[in-house]
Symmetry: C2
Subunit: 352 residues, 2 copies
C-alpha cells in the first residue's frame, strides 16, 4: 500500500520529550528561560475570534519585523513551521541529484541526510579536522556538487566558523549553487552571515525562534537570502501547505523579535553558565569542545557517551549522546539555568 | 541555482486573505462564528514558560481526545499542521507513479494535482455526472491505479457521496491501494467514513479543525485509519519535521474537540443559513447545487462566475470563482452569519 519512496526513509530521531516533568531536561537544546513577558500580556487579551480565519499566507507582519531587525528587505525573508520545515523546503528547492552531491560536515545536524533521502538527493559527508572544526578547503575539492549546508555554529560540536571563513567559502565555491548557513545557534556568541546576503545571491541563512528566543513550542523558523531564493521557497510552500505558520505563533514571534533587551539578557545568562560549565568540566579532566552555542559537547576519556547518558538519566538529568563512531564518547549538554547546571555538575562529580 | 523538480511546480492559489477587515469574507470557507469559549479561558491562564519546550512529537493528548470522540484507538490517529500537511504526507506515503495513476474527481480540491507535481505522482481526473455528482463506477474502470482521493462532500460542488456509496467503492476497488476520503466538510450534514476504518485497512479519513470548529488559524488537521497507515504517516513526518504541530494549537484543538455542545450549535446555525441561502437563490432563478458543506456552489445562467465575483467584490463581499471550463459560470459562497448572508442576498438581488 506504500509508495516506493517510503523504502528509502530512515526518520530523524529527536531527543526525548518526556511528558512527565520529573527530569532536568538538558537534551534538546531548549532555552531554560521563559520567552519575552510581552507574550503573557498578548495571550491574556488575544481575541480568539481571529482564530476562525486562516493566517496570512504571506506572513507579512512577521517578515517586516525580521527585516527590520536584520536591516534587510521583507522580500528577503521567508517563514516556516520551525526551521526544520524551512530546511526541508530548501532541500527541495535547491538541491538535486542531477547536479552532483550536496556537501555537509561529517558530524552535523543529523536531519540533513534524512532530507536527502526524503527528496532523493545525493550527499557527501566532508570530514572535520582532528579538533572537530570545519576546514573550508575540504568543501572545495568537489567540482560536481549541487550545494553546501553548514550549521554555524556546528551541531553537535558547538564550534563556530568565523564569518571571515564563511565569506572565503562563498568567494571560492561555485556561485550558481546554493550555500545554506543554518544559524540555529548563532545568537549565543557568533556573527550572522545575514550581512552577506546582498553580495552573495547564492547564500541562504536559516534561523529559528526555538533557541535564543525560548520559543521551541511555537514552531517558527525563517530564512534570509536573495529574493530569488525566497521566491523559490514560496513556490515550494504553496505547493505543500498554503498556511504553514499559524496565527498565534506569527504574533508571538513578532513580539519576541522586537524585545531585544529581554533576549539579550537571556543570552548573556546562558553564555555565562556555558563558560562556567565548560571550565568546571575541563577542571575535572573532561575534554570540552569550544562552544559558541547553547550547549557543550564534552567527553570523559574512556567512558562511552551512552553510559554517561544512562547514568545521568538514572539520576534525573537528561543529556544526549550520539551513537556514531568518532563522537560516541561525547555527550551533548544543553545549557540550563545556573541551578540546573550546578545539579548536573554535582551528579557528574559524584558518578564519574 | 534551483533543483530540476522546481520546473514542475505550479503552486496552489488559496482564496484571497485581505489583511484589511473591510470585506464580508465568504471566499475561503471559514466559519463565521468564534471557536469554543473554552479557548478564551485557556489562553488567559496559559503559562507561557511552556513555550520554551518543544511540543510533544507524538501528539499523544490530542490523539487520545480525537480517538475518544470517534470511538477509535489512539494509534489510528495522526496529526498534522492543517489537513493540507496531512494530505501532503499522505500523497508522499501512499501514491507513486510506478503503480499507476492516482484518481480524483474532475472538479475537486485543486491542491490535489499540485501535490502530485510536488511528489512526481501521475494522476487521472475522473469525470463527474452531468449533475456534478460522483459516480463511483467511473473510478472502477482503471485497473492500473495507485489510489483514489475523494473529498466528501466534494469541493467546490458541496455534493455529498452517501456513506453507502463510499462503502461500495471500498468493496469494489483494489484492496492494496489506499483510498483517502477528505472530510474537511463532513460535519455540515454528512456521515463520516471513520466507522469503516477497522474493516477497510486501505481507508484513510482526513479531517480538520478549520471548518466546523472555527479554527482555521491554528492549523491542525488529522487522519484516521489503520495503524499501518498511521505509522507510515509518522515515518514521513519524522523525515520532514519532528514537531509539525505547535504547543498552543495542540491544546486548543483538544479543548475544541471536547466541546461538542458548542460545535453542534454552530453547525446547526450554518446549516440553517445554508438552506435559507440556497432556497433564496433558487427562488430568484439561480442554479444551486445541493450542498452538505459550509458553502454553496451556484450559477446564474449567462453570467460568468468571474463577473459575479468582481461585482460582489466591488460591493464589499468576497466570494470565490474558478476559471475552469465546466464550472466557470459558478461562484462558491461560504456560509457566513445570517446577517452576512442577508447582505449578500441584497447585493445579488440588486446586481443581477
Amino acid at each position: 500500500m506504500f509508495s516506493k519512496k517510503m523504502k528509502n526513509l530512515v526518520p530523524y530521531v529527536p531527543g526525548e520529550q518526556p511528558q512527565d516533568q520529573g527530569y532536568i531536561k538538558l537534551n534538546t537544546n531548549e532555552n531554560p528561560y521563559p520567552p519575552s513577558p510581552r507574550i503573557d500580556k498578548f495571550l491574556q487579551t488575544f481575541n480568539t475570534k481571529k482564530l476562525r480565519l486562516y493566517p496570512d499566507p504571506l506572513f507579512l507582519e512577521l517578515r517586516e519585523a525580521i527585516a527590520e531587525k536584520y536591516k534587510i528587505k521583507k522580500d528577503q525573508v521567508f517563514i516556516g513551521n520551525g526551521s526544520d520545515e524551512v530546511l526541508a523546503f530548501s532541500f527541495y528547492a535547491f538541491f538535486d541529484r542531477s547536479r552532483g552531491k550536496l556537501m555537509f560536515p561529517e558530524f552535523t545536524y543529523s536531519f540533513y541526510p534524512v532530507y536527502c533521502d526524503l527528496f532523493n538527493i545525493n550527499y557527501q559527508k566532508i570530514p572535520l579536522t582532528t579538533d572537530f572544526s570545519i576546514d573550508i578547503k575540504n568543501f572545495l575539492h568537489n567540482t560536481e556538487s549541487c550545494g553546501i549546508i553548514l550549521p554555524n555554529p556546528n551541531a553537535p560540536t558547538g564550534i563556530l566558523l568565523p564569518l571571515k571563513k564563511v565569506r572565503d567559502l562563498l568567494d571560492r565555491y561555485i556561485d550558481n549553487r546554493v550555500i545554506i548557513i543554518d544559524e540555529a545557534y548563532i545568537d549565543f556568541g557568533g556573527e550572522s552571515a545575514v550581512s552577506l546576503i546582498d553580495k552573495y545571491k547564492n547564500l541562504l541563512v536559516i534561523q529559528t525562534f526555538s533557541k535564543s528566543r525560548s520559543l521551541a513550542g511555537i514552531r517558527i523558523g525563517f530564512a534570509m537570502g536573495d529574493k530569488a531564493l525566497i521566491d523559490a521557497l514560496f513556490v515550494v510552500k504553496d505547493s505543500f501547505n498554503s498556511y504553514p505558520a499559524n496565527t498565534l505563533s506569527l504574533e508571538i514571534a513578532k513580539l519576541a523579535i522586537s524585545d531585544i533587551k529581554y533576549s539579550d539578557s537571556v543570552i548573556k545568562n546562558i553564555i555565562k553558565t556555558r563558560e562556567k560549565l565548560s571550565d568546571t568540566l575541563k577542571h575535572i579532566g573532561w575534554n570540552v569542545l569550544p562552544s559558541t552555542a547553547n550547549f557543550v559537547f564534552a567527553e570523559k576519556l574512556g567512558i562511552a557517551g551512552e553510559k554517561i547518558y544512562l547514568k545521568l538519566k538514572e539520576k534525573g538529568v537528561l543529556v544526549r549522546y550520539f551513537n556514531k563512531p568518532g563522537i560516541n564518547n561525547f555527550i551533548r549538554i544543553t545549557i540550563g539555568t545556573e541551578y540546573e547546571i550546578d545539579v548536573l555538575i554535582k551528579k557528574i562529580k559524584a558518578c564519574f
